[in-house]
Symmetry: C2
Subunit: 106 residues, 2 copies
């Protein structure tokens, strides 16, 4: 997918991937892969950004003797997803503008 199109979609995707259950970096990438692929450097940048924006919290926990960072969505993060649904209406109208056939010009 076009890199420009991914912007604005990525943040919400990451939030959606931890919405129902806390998750961690490596798993998020795998879960998102069928929909949108992102590199590790991209993901950790996003996670840090979302943390700064208080959309998620981080908790380090041990798993199999190794440390993992688990990410938990906040109310603000949930609201971000809701806001996206509103933005979607605008995107739909743009889509219709772009794809409409101009009958009068034929």
């Amino acid at each position: 997918m076009d890199i420009q199109l991914k912007r604005g979609l990525l943040d919400v995707c990451v939030l959606a991937s931890i919405k129902s259950k806390d998750s961690y970096g490596y798993k998020i990438i795998k879960d998102l892969k069928p929909y949108i692929s992102l590199s590790e450097s991209t993901l950790y940048t996003i996670l840090k950004r979302l943390e700064t924006a208080n959309m998620l919290t981080v908790k380090t926990a041990e798993h199999n003797g190794r440390l993992r960072k688990y990410y938990h969505i906040t109310e603000i993060g949930l609201k971000r997803i809701e806001d996206f649904k509103d933005e979607w209406k605008e995107i739909m109208s743009i889509y219709q503008f772009v794809t409409k056939e101009d009958e009068q010009s034929e």
Copy 2:
């Protein structure tokens, strides 16, 4: 609309605005306003980019004693719009992923 979300949408919007009829800078901004707003500096940057990518051609013409630059879409530009329709399928699947309610987690 979120600035990140606009990226990737803007180019195609501009192309769509000149698809059926040649247009010029100021008019493009006005035509797009109901769907997506962009500043002049942004538009001229985009127009130059699309010209470099051979997605449109420019022709300077006189209008009311003043020079105007008219933009005309090319085959490559039209193809860009078609490609966008394909990308749309991916975007739709992302939308469904983001908005799906997780029944199993309730």
